[in-house]
């Protein structure tokens, strides 16, 4: 691996500030665009509290929480992807590719069968079920794929596919036994579906994203050392196993929070960190925080397209991310996966 660029505080701050502005711009745009066609002047009037009624509901109760869900879910999935990629030393590792999203989705549907919904306790329970599913799926993939020398690219992908298929089948079993009338909603949810969620759920989502983000971002420097090889890292005083466990827990937590509150949206964790790596190099101290902001902006952009392109009907945002993600995946598989520096 080439020497990581010195991530001087000023350079990093400038970069993150710039990305923050992008996030702000996309959020403002999303606040003004929608199928209800609220005139821009009225959106401003709502924001300054001069208009009430339906326009206020549309802007503040529908668009704003949905924007926040998109930012959180996109950021969480992108950081989870960056974490899994650093952990597996594999550019294609990503929550949905690794089957971790499917595990979390299974947990969520189990929780829904038991009727967990919107209150604070229930939101935590929902996330806990998703986290359990994500841990089981991630652990299974690791056990299946690990060889003495590490995690070979193709074995890891195949293990992810197999575990993903297993949990998808388990989800199908659950869907078959729960009430027929609920089928339509669950199938849409599985495609990835952003919607305005309750403030309590939003708070739980934000807290979990903060914890998961801290677990991964806080270990970025040690991840850089780990990329030099475990032995060298250990000589430099890094507890390799501890770092790996921390990243795994953080990435699984981020994935499960995103799945619990936004649905299993694929490919965000692939597109965003890899694009940042292509543009800015592979210093995890830059890539991971940038992924947090970039992932949010990307998913919000995708969701704004999804909810407007066939208005008044809506697409699932997962469809948009999959259309963006599959060509990207093929590119990485054909061009970059052979490159050991990724």
């Amino acid at each position: 691996m080439s020497e990581p660029l010195p991530a001087s505080g000023a350079r990093l701050a400038l970069l993150l500030g710039g990305l923050g502005l992008v996030v702000l711009a996309v959020s403002l745009g999303a606040l003004f665009i929608g199928s209800a066609r609220v005139p821009p002047g009225d959106v401003l009037a709502v924001l300054t509290g001069r208009i009430k009624g339906v326009d206020q509901v549309v802007v503040l109760s529908l668009r704003l929480p949905r924007i926040l869900v998109a930012l959180l879910a996109g950021g969480a999935l992108a950081v989870a992807g960056a974490g899994f990629q650093a952990l597996a030393r594999n550019p294609l590792a990503e929550p949905s590719v690794l089957g971790v999203s499917s595990g979390a989705a299974f947990g969520v549907i189990v929780a829904q069968v038991f009727g967990l919904g919107g209150s604070l306790v229930e939101a935590v329970g929902l996330a806990a079920c998703a986290f359990a599913g994500a841990l089981v799926a991630g652990g299974a993939v690791y056990l299946i794929a690990s060889r003495a020398g590490g995690l070979p690219v193709h074995t890891l992908l195949l293990a992810g596919v197999i575990v993903g298929i297993f949990f998808s089948s388990a989800i199908t079993v659950l869907i078959s036994v729960v009430d027929f009338d609920r089928l339509g909603g669950v199938v849409h949810w599985l495609l990835g579906n952003l919607s305005p969620i309750a403030p309590t759920s939003l708070a739980v989502f934000a807290a979990l994203t903060a914890i998961g983000g801290w677990l991964v971002i806080g270990a970025a420097r040690r991840l850089n050392l780990l990329a030099l090889g475990e032995e060298s890292a250990q000589q430099l005083g890094v507890d390799a196993e501890g770092v790996k466990r921390r990243i795994f827990a953080g990435a699984a937590l981020l994935t499960s929070a995103a799945v619990a509150f936004a649905g299993p949206i694929g490919f965000v964790g692939l597109i965003v960190p890899q694009t940042i790596r292509l543009l800015l190099g592979s210093d995890n101290r830059v890539v991971i925080p940038a992924a947090l902001l970039g992932g949010g902006a990307f998913l919000l952009l995708a969701d704004t397209v999804a909810r407007n392109v066939i208005a008044p009907a809506e697409l699932s945002v997962g469809v948009i991310t999959a259309f963006c993600g599959t060509p990207f995946f093929i590119y990485l598989l054909r061009v970059r996966a052979a490159d050991p520096h990724l």
């Binding site: 529908l62 849409h188 208005a311 008044p312």
Partner: protein, 297 residues
């Protein structure tokens, strides 16, 4: 002479050919030849199960699906599995002489497999209220319960007319009907629920949406300023249709005015006789003022 000819023609279309065989056309226009009036029927459709019970033909019903939960006695009939993948073996072992299936919810493969096994399949395809009444009549003829079916249809028509009389001439409130909240799924064009809302004296704000039951943008629906919002509930379990999510949108006029209601989806989504119960409840929710003093039933 003409009367005789008519009688013969009628006999030919309805009932026996010399061997006692019976030729019928199902609701999709397919022609079936049955050796005799069916005495062992399997229903793959919850609404057909309801209809057979309502016209007193339940003794001929030998098998139902896991979803046939009404009337409660239907639960005691042998079950053949779900609607999408009923058990072929289970069906064959019940020795049916007719299986009733639907284009909405069953798979075409099931029809073909049954026909390869020489089990006749009667396919129903109800979309409108008229189709539901037609289905009652047809199933009555098929099970020798024509009189009971005709009486049931007449009673249902009377109740539909009673609702029409009550809501006639009143302003038509804009109604948002929520089949599923998240993602929002609503009744669109050419759907039973849209028709029921119209019959109940309301205007569905999503009636111009896609065919059947499309996905719809919540903000687009709210921008049409519905005066009444009706949430369908599904079964007994605590579903994600809980009202609190909607009550947070308190600035929406319908909700602020206390016109957020729930209705049992089994009454409005199933193509059986209970759609008229559903119609009456919808009418009461949309036009409470029309039902202030007297009840229709």
């Amino acid at each position: 002479m003409i009367r005789l000819l008519t009688a013969v023609a009628l006999a030919l279309t309805l009932l026996p050919s010399p061997a006692g065989a019976l030729s019928v056309t199902d609701q999709t226009g397919r022609r079936l030849v049955l050796p005799a009036p069916p005495a062992r029927i399997i229903s793959l459709v919850p609404s057909v199960t309801e209809i057979l019970f309502s016209i007193g033909a339940q003794d001929r019903l030998v098998g139902v699906t896991d979803f046939c939960d009404y009337p409660p006695a239907a639960r005691r009939k042998p079950r053949v599995g779900g609607m999408l993948a009923p058990s072929l073996e289970g069906m064959v072992s019940l020795k049916p002489d007719l299986v009733v299936a639907t284009t909405a919810g069953n798979r075409h493969e099931t029809f073909e497999q049954l026909e390869r096994l020489k089990i006749p399949v009667y396919v129903v395809n109800p979309i409108t209220v008229a189709d539901v009444l037609d289905l009652l009549t047809r199933l009555g003829r098929l099970t020798d319960r024509a009189d009971a079916a005709d009486r049931a249809v007449a009673a249902l028509r009377e109740r539909i007319q009673a609702v029409a009389d009550r809501v006639d001439g009143r302003p038509r409130p804009r109604v948002l009907y929520v089949l599923w909240p998240d993602p929002l799924i609503v009744p669109g064009r050419a759907s039973l629920v849209s028709e029921l809302i119209t019959l109940a004296g309301g205007d569905s704000v999503t009636a111009d949406g896609g065919q059947g039951y499309p996905r719809y943008s919540l903000e687009a629906a709210l921008a049409r300023n519905p005066e009444v919002i009706i949430l369908a509930s599904h079964g007994s379990e605590k579903s994600p249709l809980t009202r609190d999510k909607w009550e947070r949108l308190g600035q929406v006029p319908a909700i602020a005015a206390g016109r957020l209601h729930t209705i049992d989806g089994n009454l409005t989504h199933r193509y059986g006789p209970r759609i008229v119960d559903g119609l009456e409840r919808l009418a009461r929710l949309i036009h409470p003022e029309a039902f202030d003093r007297a009840a229709i039933r």
